[in-house]
């Protein structure tokens, strides 16, 4: 296992790559004087360690995307960071990318933090050749002569089993899998310390998905990067992540090593997710859970899961459960698991 190029070897527990503390990110709108807030992320805390793949699971509109937007600093009105902080190892003192100075951001992006997007086969500019995307994204960070840069890109493409000829192709001339791999190469060319991957394999067929996941793992191992891996697909999490957090309605409900979660889910929501786990590549709806995810503009009081929870008791409606360590490295936010005292 290689460590990040930038950081000296050290105590991973002591120096995590990212510490998120009590993050609150709301969509705020104002109509005719009435302010409304949609609490898409509401008090989320977690830590991403160096060299690990940290998974984030949850169904649609659980706030995953907002969370990674916030972490990536892609904040545009009406989205606002209302509270909390995000400390990166490579960026101290700002409490999050969204507060970083412009120059700082330009330095950090892609060099230290890169991003693999949902539907990442569409991230390449369709009217330009693949090469120019590499130049636009990475060349300012790497520098040197263009020729050297190109050699570097070719070498890197080889890692994802792509021929150098893709550089002169237009994106549409490549197959879906090739584009996916090109996007992966694009995201990792600068060997960033931290990669955010948002549903990177969702639209792929099973074979390609497996291949891409293997490559992500391979590159991560090779560069020692940390990856924040977001997908709703528990099968994918089982396949790739080291640790896993489950998100529901803007909050984390459970976090543990991936194997531990699958072996011993504690939160009723997690249990439900695991029990209805589809096989890899099958994008079937999760059965067995009544009701719909809550409206975040007007979330349920107390534990946000309580209207759908089979174990809900009176306190769940009243008070918000906090994350507590149930066993070593296994945190969960549930009164039924942690016992009845509130926050």
């Amino acid at each position: 296992m290689h460590a990040s190029v930038e950081q000296p070897h050290g105590d991973q527990e002591a120096q995590p790559l990212l510490v998120v503390r009590d993050l609150q990110a709301y969509y705020r709108t104002s109509h005719a004087g009435v302010r409304r807030g949609i609490r898409a992320v509401d008090g989320v805390s977690f830590t991403v360690r160096r060299g690990e793949i940290y998974g984030l699971a949850g169904e649609s509109s659980s706030g995953k995307t907002t969370l990674i937007k916030s972490i990536a600093g892609a904040i545009k009105p009406p989205l606002e960071i209302v509270g909390g902080s995000m400390e990166f190892a490579f960026l101290s003192g700002y409490g999050g990318l969204h507060r970083a100075a412009r120059a700082e951001l330009e330095r950090i992006r892609w060099r230290h933090l890169s991003y693999i997007m949902q539907g990442s086969m569409n991230v390449l500019n369709p009217v330009r050749r693949v090469r120019s995307s590499f130049v636009d994204f990475a060349y300012p960070h790497i520098g040197g002569s263009l020729k050297q840069f190109e050699q570097l890109v070719v070498a890197h493409l080889a890692r994802v089993k792509l021929d150098p000829s893709v550089l002169t192709a237009f994106p549409h001339e490549l197959s879906g899998g090739m584009r996916q791999r090109a996007a992966l190469a694009l995201a990792t060319i600068c060997r960033p310390g931290f990669i955010i991957a948002d549903e990177p394999t969702t639209a792929l067929d099973v074979v390609v998905q497996k291949e891409v996941l293997g490559m992500i793992r391979g590159i991560q191992r090779e560069t020692g990067s940390s990856v924040l891996f977001v997908t709703h697909d528990m099968g994918v999490h089982a396949h790739i992540t080291d640790r896993l957090a489950i998100m529901y309605a803007g909050r984390l409900v459970e976090e543990a090593a991936t194997a531990e979660i699958f072996r011993n889910p504690l939160h009723p929501y997690t249990k439900n997710l695991i029990s209805s786990l589809p096989r890899i590549g099958e994008d079937a709806p999760r059965a067995g859970l009544a009701g719909a995810p809550p409206n975040l503009a007007d979330p349920p009081s107390g534990c946000r899961f309580h209207p759908r929870c089979p174990l809900a008791s009176e306190i769940c409606c009243r008070e918000v459960p906090v994350m507590r360590e149930a066993s070593s490295g296994h945190r969960v936010a549930c009164f039924a698991v942690n016992g009845g005292d509130g926050a």
Binding site: A74, I108, R109, W110, N122, V123, R128, D136, F170
Partner: protein, 334 residues
């Protein structure tokens, strides 16, 4: 590349077909005109002296002969095509025997010059500002510009032109309001003449730009806001790609594709002339020539202008189609 060659070949065939059908329709329509050029000439002539019907009949006969209107319809049609193919539109009937080519040749540079330049300026300006307005949605200046564009766009052109004319020709008379150049200035390439032409083109061009810029602006703005939501733009922004580069190479470059189509077509369409511009600003050009020709039943001239118009628009459309794969590589040529 052979795929592309085949594509070009098929497209050329289609081009020829379109031109052929177009010119034929123009021929049929103009010949269905109720205006008889001979009667028009006679009515102009008979404004003097009382003329007996038999004398008029004689005049009619000699005019028909003179204008080459004899022969069966088939013969006339064949003569017409023979002329078109040898790039000769024959004599104008209402300005006999001056060739149609001469009349068009005199008017065309004015029209082409004024409309090409103002169409291009409107296009560049509209797309630039529209692109910026779509990209920097919060900018107050650009928002205001959006409102202005929205307001200018639907003003009937005649009103706008008259307002400009009154504003710059009367209330604050700094610009010439009539003609293509100062009177009594020889039309040779002297600095004086060129300056005069530019000066005289300011108001007509301004009116065309003001009226034209709005639709490009609004079109571009909405195209840009569509493109902005595309993954590749969001991704490039997340990646910290230089924002000017994003605006130009990612946003504008993709949004421009349909606008280029529009440009080619409106550039082709300029050969219709801008009749109202010419009327209001007394600017020389094809538009009034065309309307005059229609009035006079001078179908030689009408056909000449329409043929040139058909050809130029077809070439414009052809050019877009041939260039489209270059503009948008996603489009397969097959």
């Amino acid at each position: 590349m052979s795929g592309y060659a085949g594509y070009v070949g098929r497209r050329l065939a289609q081009f020829l077909l379109v031109v052929f059908i177009g010119i034929n329709i123009a021929y049929v329509v103009t010949h269905a005109s109720p205006i008889d050029p001979v009667e028009q000439s006679i009515s102009a002539v008979t404004s003097f002296g009382n003329t007996a019907p038999d004398a008029i009949e004689q005049m009619r006969k000699s005019l028909r002969e003179l204008y080459g209107l004899g022969g069966t319809p088939v013969q006339q049609y064949l003569t017409f095509w023979k002329r078109i193919l040898s790039a000769d539109f024959g004599p104008s009937l209402s300005a006999f025997p001056t060739p149609v080519g001469t009349l068009i040749g005199r008017a065309l540079p004015w029209t082409a010059g004024l409309l090409t330049v103002s169409t291009l300026i409107a296009w560049v300006l509209g797309n630039l500002l529209g692109g910026l307005a779509g990209y920097y949605r919060q900018s107050r200046g650009l928002k205001l510009m959006g409102v202005i564009a929205m307001g200018l766009h639907p003003i009937p052109y005649y009103i706008l032109a008259m307002l400009l004319l009154i504003l710059f020709g009367f209330i604050w008379p700094v610009l010439p309001i009539s003609g293509g150049a100062t009177m009594n200035l020889p039309q040779t390439l002297t600095p004086e003449f060129v300056f005069s032409v530019l000066q005289h083109a300011v108001l007509p061009a301004l009116s065309l730009i003001l009226i034209g810029v709005g639709s490009w602006f609004l079109g571009m703005r909405s195209l840009v806001s569509n493109v902005l939501a595309e993954d590749y733009v969001v991704y490039a922004e997340l990646a910290g790609v230089n924002s000017w580069r994003i605006l130009t190479s990612y946003v504008m470059r993709n949004a421009l594709v349909p606008q280029v189509t529009g440009l080619a077509m409106s550039l082709g369409g300029i050969f219709n002339g801008a009749v109202i511009t010419e009327k209001v600003f007394g600017y020389p050009g094809l538009g009034s020539l065309l309307v005059d020709a229609v009035y006079a039943g001078d179908y030689g001239l009408v056909l000449g202008v329409t043929t040139i118009s058909i050809l130029s628009v077809s070439v414009g459309v052809l050019a877009i189609d041939l260039l489209y794969p270059l503009l948008d590589p996603r489009v397969k040529v097959s």
